[in-house]
Subunit: 335 residues, 2 copies
């Protein structure tokens, strides 16, 4: 496949698809070279859109199916009756080595289950983990697991540390990556048995990929001194969702404060440029793209509610996982 | 003790004490009637401050000690050698029915351990829980446990639901209180065994004090539809700290965006009034005061780093727990 990379895309998942998907591909294709898109979905809907958004016919292929996994399907029902759906076919193309990675904005549970059914786990990894990007004062963190595994062993958490670091390396190519375990701070009560055991395991061994920095508390996740934050899926999901809720709450309070009077409105307008740079930095579309780690091909989940810009960012994340040799990084560092 | 309430205050705990403590008492005394303050600490330091802040001598009594629990003491060492410290003496005054409740801005672990050593658990409650106020779109929530118990049984979580509702009732006197269990949303993986069991217990029984509303995810904590959010201490602490970190991150990004150019600075000034109301609503001093629930007297922890306004707010919370008959509410509703 030389330097060209091939991304399999489920064009039918998420809100407003395939419109935002095809528009997202068009945005991504303008900033990327040597990417070929295998687009799975309804040709009758997709054809007019690739024309509308001017995507060169050399850059893509449409693999037609009119079957679609619905957002409200359970993962199991989607997997059972879904062998001709755009989601299933796009993942299956990885199994047949027809693409390097897959991106979908559709049903999360179905994406993960069908990926696990079609792809192999990387050797010596027991559980796949869901990871995502999290903004910090100094750049971008990787946080995992975000909900794939409610209960984890210390072996799982060590694996997550390696996989998360490999992802950070593939995406940002930082010289030395700092890893920490998400924990609580109370002296007497620090952590449960699994976390303490993981601490020992990570502390006793030296890893070439990352430095282990011990525990981190929730209020320090965004400081930027630690690049990869590791937790079981329950804890990670609670942290992610709470951060999301807090962020939404503050932004909406801010909006209503800034528009609560005429003077407020006018000075917000004057201030538009600055507030805009603030908005940009916190734009959730920037961080769009959760990555399922542990399988032998990158599986990227775009947020279902994102728009074409968000979807283009997932494609960028996907491209980086391939070019940054995410899977090789994991294989070389896992024991 | 008629309508007069007596608050025991450890004047020596936290940063900048006893200065902020005495100033906080002065602020609180100006908005409250019939409150008497028993101030435990170094009389030589406190005396000039009560004069400086003009607190009427009828409102307080200083119980002198020059022994102090340090911030860096472990709870155990503080308890072992601490029987003459301001913290120990102030808690002991509750045991002897000389005060209705205690407020300290000092060492959290020591406050809780010494409280447990001196006070009785409310009958039928196995574990005390740490609760705090959490702002929402529609007012104020109570969240617990925030770190007192890493591992909890379903019985503990049911107790927390009752105690948290009693606290909400005492503080805000809302007609009907909604309670939910903090959980993750993934369909397949919803919650661990303890959470599911607690769901059943809360769902099967009707409580007069609150309505059980099922599960809540982290991103909905601040929506305001649920008033009391229940979790084990590990999960609750992760959520609290993550919300704190996210909030600090966004506010600091906002500040730097608003001051990054001359126009930004000027229009922020014009906008000052609106931004001020925003700041006020999110001012952490408003929510200052964690409450240890389960003991037969209210134990209030003020943040160590807060100032006199924050400490005055802890005194307000303390006053409300007494006037709202927190302990009676718990006793009447616990089984």
């Amino acid at each position: 496949m030389s330097n060209k990379i091939i991304i399999a895309i489920d064009a039918m998942g998420g809100d407003d698809s395939p419109h935002k998907i095809i528009k997202g591909i068009s945005i991504h294709s303008r900033t990327s070279d040597n990417v070929y898109y295998k687009i799975f979905g309804n040709k009758n809907l997709i054809d007019p859109l690739v024309k509308k958004f001017n995507i060169s016919s050399e850059l893509f292929q449409i693999i037609h199916t009119d079957k679609v996994v619905q957002g409200e399907d359970t993962a199991l029902s989607a997997a059972k009756r879904g062998k001709q759906t755009s989601l299933w076919l796009s993942i299956e193309s990885l199994k047949h080595d027809e693409a390097h990675a897959i991106v979908s904005a559709g049903n999360t549970g179905a994406l993960f289950l069908i990926s696990k059914l079609n792809l192999n786990m990387i050797e010596n990894i027991d559980k796949p983990a869901l990871s995502a990007l999290w903004p910090s004062r100094k750049g971008m963190n990787v946080v995992l697991d975000l909900g794939a595994n409610i209960e984890c062993s210390s072996k799982n958490l060590v694996d997550f540390s390696i996989m998360g670091s490999a992802l950070h390396k593939a995406l940002f190519d930082k010289e030395k990556i700092n890893v920490a375990l998400l924990n609580i701070g109370s002296e007497e009560l620090k952590g449960n048995a699994v976390i303490k055991e993981t601490y020992q395991l990570l502390n006793d061994k030296k890893y070439s990929l990352f430095r282990f920095k011990g525990y981190i508390e929730g209020n320090n996740i965004m400081d930027g001194d630690v690049n990869v934050i590791v937790a079981d899926g329950f804890t990670g999901n609670i942290a992610l969702k709470t951060a999301e809720g807090t962020s939404n709450f503050i932004i909406s309070e801010l909006k209503s404060a800034l528009s609560s009077s005429l003077i407020g409105k006018i000075s917000s307008l004057i201030n538009f440029k600055n507030l805009n740079s603030f908005r940009k930095k916190l734009d959730p579309r920037l961080y769009n793209g959760a990555i399922l780690l542990g399988l032998d091909k990158p599986v990227i989940k775009s947020h279902g509610a994102t728009d074409s810009i968000g979807f283009a960012n997932s494609l960028k994340v996907c491209e980086k996982t391939i070019r940054g040799k995410l899977i090789d990084q994991i294989k070389q560092n896992i024991l």
